[in-house]
Amino acid sequence: MSAAPPLLDVRNVSLAFKGVKALTDLSFAVPRGEICALIGPNGAGKSSLLNVINGVYRADAGEITIDGEPFHRPTPMGAARRGVGRTFQNNALFRRMSVLDNVLTGLSTATSPRSSSATATPSCSAPSGTCAAMTALARGSSTATAASADLTFFKGVLMPSTSTPDFERQPKAHRITSDAEAIAVARDLAAVFATGAADRDRERRLPVAELERFSASGLWGITVPKGYGGAGVSYATLAEVIATVSAADPSLGQIPQNHLAALDAIRVSGSEAQKVLWFGRVLEGDRLGNAFSEKNSRHVGAFETTLRASGEGYVVSGDKFYATGALFAHFVHIGAVDEANRVHLAIADRDAPGLTVVDSWSGFGQRTTASGNVALRDVRVGPEAVIPAWKGGEQPSSNGAVSQLIQAAVDLGIAQGAFAETIGFVRTRSRPWIDSGQEHAFDDVFTIHGIGDLAVRLHAAEAMLARAGHAVDAILDDPTEAAVAETAVSVAKAKVLTTEIAILAANKLHELAGTRSVLMADNLDRHWRNARTHTLHDPVRWKYFHVGNHALNGVAPPRHAWS
């Protein structure tokens, strides 16, 4: 018998927990170079076996040999030294590390890594077909090169804090009928969403339940025109609704952003039948999540994702990033270019074959927006699902202004949240400064002055956003070139003011509240992290320019979603 011993040899292993037999006289061997998968129903003992091999449990009977050497006195560290690593499905992943790095952890902790690990059974939540590639990479095998091609997509992919939870696939939404009701519903929801916002951010816990509640409230359908059964609210109302929710949790406020922008694209560019179909679905409670931006295209407005006619319908292929809301959407609206390089929105079922959404968002702010990658591999969509959105940019339309207005509303909400947080903290927790001569921090003359300054800027941003919302209302049915330009300028002004106050208020919060406001337990830095992250969507330095160019030279701002 001169053949090499198996890399892993499990012989007659048994394990019981107080009479419950997990493993009974189990034997198998894994030769070098072989991938062994272990499958079985819940409770079959898969995890128990891995825990025995890994040194977490000690077997009641039997013997394990690793690379020819008996594995006595097993401990996880001892196993690691021999090159045995273990990756957990959910509750022991290293957050903020990529899928690949999680897989490779077992190797990195070994003091002298062996050339291979005996068993690696990464129960990853990645699309099927990639686990093998990861295992191969984990084993450091040169044969992994081909398989790892697929893995490059996951190199930067962060582990979700939990596996993607399920969500209601057949929702039923309340029907909101007026502006006043929309605002009242938003306020009620915001009170609920505010609780837990800090924890969700800290733990990066995706707000699935909150999201379900949000869209079930009917707020995701309020801009559907009255003629299609919606409330057709003023865009000033929409801005207030988004700001109100964002003040409680700006990730939640941001998630419907692209859904709402898509509704306006459908309103402007969709056929009558498409409007009836999609507005109807949205009023029922369906959520749209976007797959619009691409990470590697030349600039934000360039697309490499393609839409090609195929049979009765179309196929869409490409890779998307920053796909806010797609993770928990019922439908994903995909920006894709046809042969003539015109941008369409192709609305695909979230569960369509070839469409994969990965929770890969690793931003330091807006952490729970359910943004991520969307991989599109020949995703089929019907003709009813392809909206010629390019029309909304070619002709003057409300599309760009609607998109920007919602962006600004999220920032306004962040500012409102930070402002309220500052007042609450200074009133109840801050100590008076030594030089103030006051009993209470809130009587410090400079603190009062500072709050006064914030209030002025906050209310200016609010007033400007309301103005911009009314300007949008006026171009919905009559989008003349001049009025669309004026509206874009109005929205840009609001965007500048909301950006400035969001960042200022989030900063001043700590200055006025004092050092105790930086303690991790309160997680108050989330306001600044959220403000700084979300305000990068489109940089305000170009807003000043577009506003100035319109005022000075009569040049209309460009017509796209970022202006």
């Binding site: 009062i448 006064g452 002025v456 200016a460 941003a461 807003k543 000043y544 506003v547 100035g548 000075l552």
Partner: protein, 416 residues
């Protein structure tokens, strides 16, 4: 005026001998929209001579007559007395529009409307009927409020004392904006009981001397001067109880203030418009920009954008404040008057900043040639700086902060 006086003296029973009514016809403005349109029209006309009036300090007598003719000075007369009874937001916009043409002309109507608001809140039916008719005829009433040398700007030593069947006024008032152009002078004085009163005295009354002594570097032609009151006989009919305007919550304070903010807003808007015009027609491109026209310099374009944003932000706050002021004027209570004062203070902070910013930035963007005397472009900053010290914004921040942080209402007086 104390209650004792009003009971003893029946205003109608004592001789009241007013001067003849203004003879030029005045147009009757019907509503808010018309007020705004008329203001735009007359402002365009009045803008033409603004540089020269400022440079040579030519007092705008004829211009004020023109404004009177348009009916703009009567727009706050309530509908039941034949006026348009426009909103506070409209008043603010009208003032901003006039101030955009000429900062001084924008400021002059401020205390005219302020005094009319005092009449609306505290005048008797007969007083309202009489004075509103005069106002609808285009007459102007300007103030004699401030005094110099008192401990704070709100203290008064001018006295209204009993004299025969009526009263006598004695004192000296400074910074009496518009008084040189007045048909009537609204004089604030303490009565024998030490309570604040407001008398509407004909500018032509014996004992009234108006001295043109305003030497400020900005708002040069506001006709602000010193009013000397030497034993001026005042009929009881002319006396309006003033103190109670601030004893109970009224919209008087925020109404007064929103008009001040509007003056600054008008200056900011005019500085922006002037910057755009100057850059387009006069400014040479900077060498490093590599562009043929200054208006294509990306930094200039962007700076104009910032001026526009700051100016419009202030304008939006002013408009927002108008809604609060109207709510407080319609049914004043502790809460809505405080909210209005705070909203107006917020607008005042923003308009102050915008006016100073735009008037300074104008010169930077326009370039060295913009400093030449003939353009008079420095008038925007001189006007903004002068007008914005009327009541310092540093204490506005305090009032605003105290309201939002501590839930404390602002004090009630004419400057908040």
């Amino acid at each position: 005026m104390s209650t004792a006086f009003t009971q003893k003296l029946d205003p109608e029973s004592v001789a009241f001998d007013p001067p003849p009514v203004r003879s030029r016809p005045a147009y009757r403005i019907r509503d808010d929209a018309e007020a705004l349109a008329v203001a735009r029209e007359v402002a365009a006309e009045l803008a033409l001579g603004a540089v020269r009036r400022d440079r040579e300090r030519i007092l705008p007598y004829e211009e004020l007559e023109r404004i009177s003719d348009t009916g703009l000075l009567a727009i706050t007369v309530p509908a039941e007395f034949g006026g348009a009874g426009v909103s506070a937001g409209t008043v603010a916009r009208v003032i901003a529009t006039l101030a955009g043409a000429d900062g001084s002309l924008g400021q002059i109507p401020q205390n005219h409307f302020f005094l009319l608001e005092g009449l609306r809140l505290s005048g008797t039916e007969a007083q309202k009927r009489f004075f509103y008719n005069r106002i609808l005829a285009g007459e102007r009433i300007f103030n004699a409020l401030s005094e110099r040398g008192t401990k704070t700007a709100q203290d008064h030593v001018t006295r209204l004392t009993r004299a025969g069947d009526g009263f006598a006024l004695n004192g000296r008032k400074f910074y009496s904006t518009g008084v040189l152009f007045a048909h009537w002078i609204g004089v604030v004085a303490n009565d024998d009981a030490g309570e604040s009163t407001l008398s509407f005295v004909p500018a032509t009354a014996p004992g009234v001397t108006v001295i043109d002594d305003w030497t400020g570097f900005g708002q040069r032609t506001t006709g602000s001067g010193t009013t000397v009151l030497d034993d001026v006989a005042v009929a009881p009919f002319s006396v309006i109880p003033f103190k109670r305007i601030f004893d109970v919550p009224t919209g008087m304070g925020p109404f007064a203030q929103i008009m001040h903010a509007a003056v600054e807003q008008g200056i900011a808007e005019a500085a922006l418009a002037t910057a755009i015009h100057f850059v387009r027609h006069h400014t040479r491109p900077w060498k490093e920009s590599g562009v043929d026209r200054a208006s294509d310099d990306p930094y200039i374009v962007s700076a104009v954008g910032e001026m526009s944003i700051r100016t419009d932000a202030a304008g939006a706050l002013l408009e927002r404040a108008g809604g609060f002021v109207d709510a407080a004027r319609a049914a004043p209570d502790e809460g809505n008057v405080a909210a209005a004062s705070v909203a107006v203070a917020e607008a005042k902070v923003a308009t102050t900043e915008a006016a100073l910013f735009a008037s300074t930035k104008l010169i930077e963007l326009a370039g060295s040639s913009a400093t030449l005397q003939e353009h008079g472009l420095d008038r925007f900053w001189r006007n903004a700086r002068t007008h914005t010290v009327h009541d310092p914004v540093r204490w506005k921040y305090k009032v605003i902060g105290d309201y939002w942080l501590n839930g404390r209402n602002p004090p009630r007086h004419g400057a908040i």
